[in-house]
């Protein structure tokens, strides 16, 4: 009468996923590579959200970052250099039930695939795009990438590159209809997890710029940032990436930043004195292309045949 259940037995889920459920085997990145942190964070998020492995589509291009799908137990697509985003969009177009993650790098996304970078932001289909930015081409053995700092000697530019690097987050913010841009670092697992988890909850394309150590080729690039937390500016806001007490204790420089404030987010992305980490910009109202691409799903065969006959009628004489 008062709604008390008659059956007191616990509802046991048919399947429960552990971290092992997402384990695709031994990752073969170099020892000390930042990519391990992303793999671990994504597996934890999948576990915490209990996403069935068969509903996961892990998409990548080519490069160290793009080995990511091989190390997940999930459906994966390790495709062509620079072309992860069109494939990911194609997957999402007619499969709203799939959870799509993209792993790409500074060369893959911001150089050879730069055209798709802009348009994927504009399509704003529901997926997380992780840009692993290690400031170098790693898999091809240390060539200058669009994010390589000036002065860094590479095999293609022994005396350093000629032009200043681009910033992944700031550039992404310049794209039309972009709906989510965050930045984090591989060496802070708590912030990395919180950022990717926030990205995963956003409906739309969530770009996450991840500064990633490459101990083999660019070990020194992020060393100062990693050793000295004072060089980092932690963005806080109730609608941003959650910053727990540990994070707040670690990063004493903090700024409350409303992720709806585009101009402030853009300025923060470009700040030189400190690296701003957290949610730079979010617009939950940006139109999503997948709201259109899924139209027509669920039409029956009979309806399709009838529509087809009507189309033939148009050419009938």
């Amino acid at each position: 009468m008062f709604g008390l259940p008659q059956d007191w037995s616990l509802e046991v889920p048919e399947r429960y996923f552990t971290l092992e459920s997402y384990d695709g085997g031994v990752a073969r990145w170099c020892p000390g590579c930042g990519d391990f942190a992303m793999l671990s964070a994504v597996q934890r998020i999948c576990r915490d959200q209990q996403v069935p492995p068969e509903k996961l589509a892990m998409v990548s291009g080519i490069g160290c970052s793009s080995r990511f799908p091989h190390y997940m137990h999930a459906y994966g697509f390790h495709g062509l250099h620079g072309r992860a985003l069109p494939v990911a969009c194609g997957i999402k177009a007619r499969r709203p039930d799939l959870t799509v993650w993209v792993a790409t790098g500074d060369g893959d996304c911001c150089s050879i695939g730069a055209g798709h970078w802009l348009h994927a932001a504009r399509y704003n289909m529901d997926m997380v795009v992780m840009v692993f930015d290690n400031s170098v081409y790693g898999l091809t053995k240390k060539q200058t990438s669009p994010t390589t700092p000036l002065g860094l000697s590479t095999n293609t530019h022994p005396d350093g590159g000629f032009l200043p690097p681009l910033d992944v987050a700031a550039t992404t913010l310049g794209f039309p209809n972009v709906s989510f841009v965050a930045r984090t670092v591989d060496w802070n697992p708590a912030h990395l997890y919180a950022t990717l988890e926030t990205a995963q909850r956003h409906r739309g394309t969530s770009f996450v710029h991840i500064l990633q150590r490459c101990p083999t080729y660019t070990g020194e690039v992020f060393e100062e940032l990693r050793r000295n937390p004072d060089r980092t500016l932690l963005l806080t806001h109730p609608e941003g990436v959650p910053a727990d007490d540990t994070l707040r204790r670690m990063y004493k420089h903090q700024q409350e930043h409303d992720p709806r404030d585009f101009a402030a987010g853009h300025a923060l992305a470009l700040r030189k004195d400190r690296l701003a980490i957290g949610l730079l910009y979010r617009n939950p109202e940006a139109p999503r292309y997948d709201d259109f691409t899924v139209k027509g799903l669920g039409m029956t065969r009979e309806q399709k045949v009838a529509a087809l006959e009507r189309e033939l009628d148009r050419f009938s004489i």
Binding site: Y75, G76, R83, G90, R95, G296, K304, E311, L312
Partner: protein
């Protein structure tokens, strides 16, 4: 027919309506004068009256080329007859021209013969600009010298009695004129005008119908010729469309719900059709940011379970090459429609060529075996796309459908296909993947394997363009790479095993066999018929499967003394300087056939940017036969 009182001062001689088997008519104009709409309307009327019809557009590369320019000719050719018409034919019988300059390009393309009747707009003779008057007079003299029978007619003046702007009305006036000249039922023409303009409102319909009536009356009064082309078939339900529309309908009939493309001539009109029509059957047309993204998007959709299609032409095919290689390597079903145009590079965007065969087969790095099929008619454009999806899924890889600009813009009636619901793709399989089955569980004999689709529990695997094992794991060892290459190649042999040997047209054996592929079918077979009527021992063979080939080719070739291909692509003329049997670069199909059959296959191919005509082919074949007689049609 009531006899109207004389409407003009010069009454043409009384004419008798002559019964003919077929006629070729052209309407040529500046761009934007509606010649194509006029030709399509007239062609549809003919088709509805039971004629066999083939219409082909004459398209300038620019949207609005300068008026009265020789290269800017825009227009249409309509060939119709009392039998099935399968190609554009050779020289036109009757031309309606809105100005004299546009005729130069057509004459250069050998579209006319001595005796071709040209109904020419005469207003230019009184143009306010003296140079226009002079151009007109000069052209008139030149045309008549070349044997064209030019009849000057004040078409525009007659239109201006009904509409304010003759540029928008002249075309329907011409429809009426042609209907009278060929004795078509005017009620059919008026009904067709209602079909074409119905959406624009009653006023537009009435005004265009009036133009048709005026054109009819004008022809009665001023055109000294009249013909009748008897009907061929009537009553049978037929569809009239161009090859690109047929491709679009084929995509829908195949149940392909995702089409990703980037605009490129002459493939784009498929997407113009699908942009409206695909949502009607629950699909979506994705216009991607570039050619690469288009194929990537399609591959993504295919991977996720709905075999998708991408549509392009030569330059786009070049850009898609890397992704096609991935689809081969990772064994992802995909349908690629390539509407070929002239190349290399940007080449001849609006014009026909069959020059992407080798690029399609061998464009990708490494060994990249894929299925390539080529429809030969507009009807086949429809059915081959349906077939392509089936093949893509059954053989787990990309299937390229090679059409060309001739099929893309050609319009012909064909029997209405009975839609089979089994053509449509089934819903995406989401049942659990059977345990113990690898993602590339290759059958060692056929190379075939089933593929897990995202969402299938237990089938999780990673697609990779890297060499991989049956288990889908990256592997760089010699065994795995060899096995993968073997299995992907074996699929083509497995498909070939299911095909029947093609049947020659004309004869099963003889002196010379002409081999073709794609849109040249009608012209080649008509050429063979002409030659056989002349007593030559000639036959033709048309290939629909280009990779793998249909079986039995070497055996068929062995029954003929000589074998040659006829193709619209480049080959060295054997008589050209420096060209020897060793240095000669042969036509694309000829190269493949020589390799595959070890027969000394000769070729005649050319790159005029327009479809081949039967008489033109017959002349070339005759030269190979070493029997130089004049053509039965007396072509100059």
């Amino acid at each position: 027919m009531t006899v109207a009182p004389p409407a003009a001062t010069t009454q043409p001689p009384r004419r008798t309506r002559q019964r003919v088997s077929e006629r070729i008519v052209e309407i040529v104009s500046d761009s934007g004068e509606g010649a194509q709409k006029a030709g399509q309307t007239f062609g549809t009327v003919c088709a509805k009256l039971g004629n066999g019809v083939w219409t082909v557009e004459i398209i300038p590369a620019e949207i609005k080329p300068p008026a009265r320019s020789r290269a800017g000719a825009s227009g249409i050719r309509v060939r119709f007859g009392d039998h099935e018409i399968t190609n554009r034919g050779d020289r036109a019988d009757l031309v309606v021209a809105f100005n004299e300059q546009v005729l130069y390009g057509r004459i250069g393309s050998r579209a006319y013969r001595p005796g071709t009747i040209v109904l020419l707009e005469s207003k230019w003779a009184e143009d306010p600009q003296p140079e226009v008057r002079e151009q007109y007079a000069t052209a008139l003299g030149e045309f008549r010298e070349q044997g064209l029978e030019v009849i000057e007619l004040p078409l525009e003046k007659a239109c201006l009695e009904i509409v304010g702007d003759a540029r928008v009305g002249k075309n329907m006036f011409v429809v009426g004129l042609l209907c009278e000249v060929f004795g078509c039922d005017i009620e059919r023409a008026l009904a067709e005008v209602r079909e074409v303009f119905g959406r624009k409102g009653e006023e537009v319909v009435r005004s265009n119908q009036e133009l048709v009536r005026r054109g009819w009356a004008f022809a009665e009064a001023h055109v000294p010729y009249a013909w009748e082309v008897p009907a061929w078939r009537a009553g049978e339900p037929v569809l009239v469309m161009n090859g690109n529309q047929a491709v679009g309908l084929g995509i829908m009939a195949a149940g392909m719900e995702m089409v990703a493309m980037y605009p490129i001539t002459p493939a784009t009109s498929v997407s113009h059709y699908l942009g409206r029509a695909l949502p009607v059957v629950g699909g979506f047309l994705h216009q991607a940011e570039d050619e690469i993204a288009a194929v990537g998007f399609a591959i993504g959709a295919s991977y996720a379970g709905q075999t998708a299609c991408t549509i392009t032409s030569g330059p786009g095919l070049a850009l898609k090459t890397e992704f096609l290689g991935l689809a081969v390597m990772a064994e992802i079903p995909l349908v690629v429609v390539v509407v070929q145009r002239g190349g290399p590079s940007t080449g001849l965007p609006t014009k026909v060529e069959q020059a992407d065969l080798l690029a399609t087969l061998f464009g990708a790095p490494g060994d990249s075996p894929k299925i390539v099929i080529a429809p030969a008619t507009i009807e086949e454009c429809f059915h081959f796309v349906v077939l392509a999806r089936k093949l893509a899924e059954e053989f787990r890889g990309p299937v390229v459908v090679l059409t060309d600009a001739n099929l893309a813009t050609g319009v012909a009636p064909f029997p209405r296909p009975a839609i089979d619901p089994a053509w449509l793709a089934p819903p995406i399989d989401q049942t659990p993947w059977p345990t113990g089955i690898a993602p590339y569980d290759w059958d060692p004999e056929t190379g075939l394997s089933a593929r897990p689709i995202p969402g299938q529990r237990g089938g999780e695997y990673v697609v990779t363009g890297l060499a991989h094992t049956r288990g889908g794991k990256v592997a760089y060892d010699a065994f795995s790479n060899q096995e993968g290459c073997d299995m992907r190649s074996r699929k083509l042999a497995a498909l070939a095993r299911t095909l029947k040997p093609p049947r020659p047209h004309g004869a099963e054996a003889g002196e010379l066999l002409v081999v073709g592929w794609g849109s040249t079918l009608g012209a080649i077979e008509e050429a063979v018929d002409l030659l056989r009527a002349d007593g030559h021992s000639v036959a033709s063979l048309h290939l629909r499967f280009l990779s793998p080939f249909e079986p039995g080719l070497a055996e068929i070739f062995g029954r003929f003394e000589k074998v040659m291909t006829v193709e619209i692509n480049y080959s060295d003329d054997p008589a050209a300087p420096l060209i020897t049997d060793e240095t000669r670069r042969r036509a694309q199909l000829a190269q493949l056939l020589r390799e595959r059959t070890l027969v000394d296959v000769d070729c005649w191919s050319t790159v005029p940017g327009q479809p081949l005509g039967p008489v033109q082919i017959a002349e070339q074949v005759r030269a190979r036969l070493g029997a130089a007689t004049t053509s039965p049609r007396g072509v100059v």
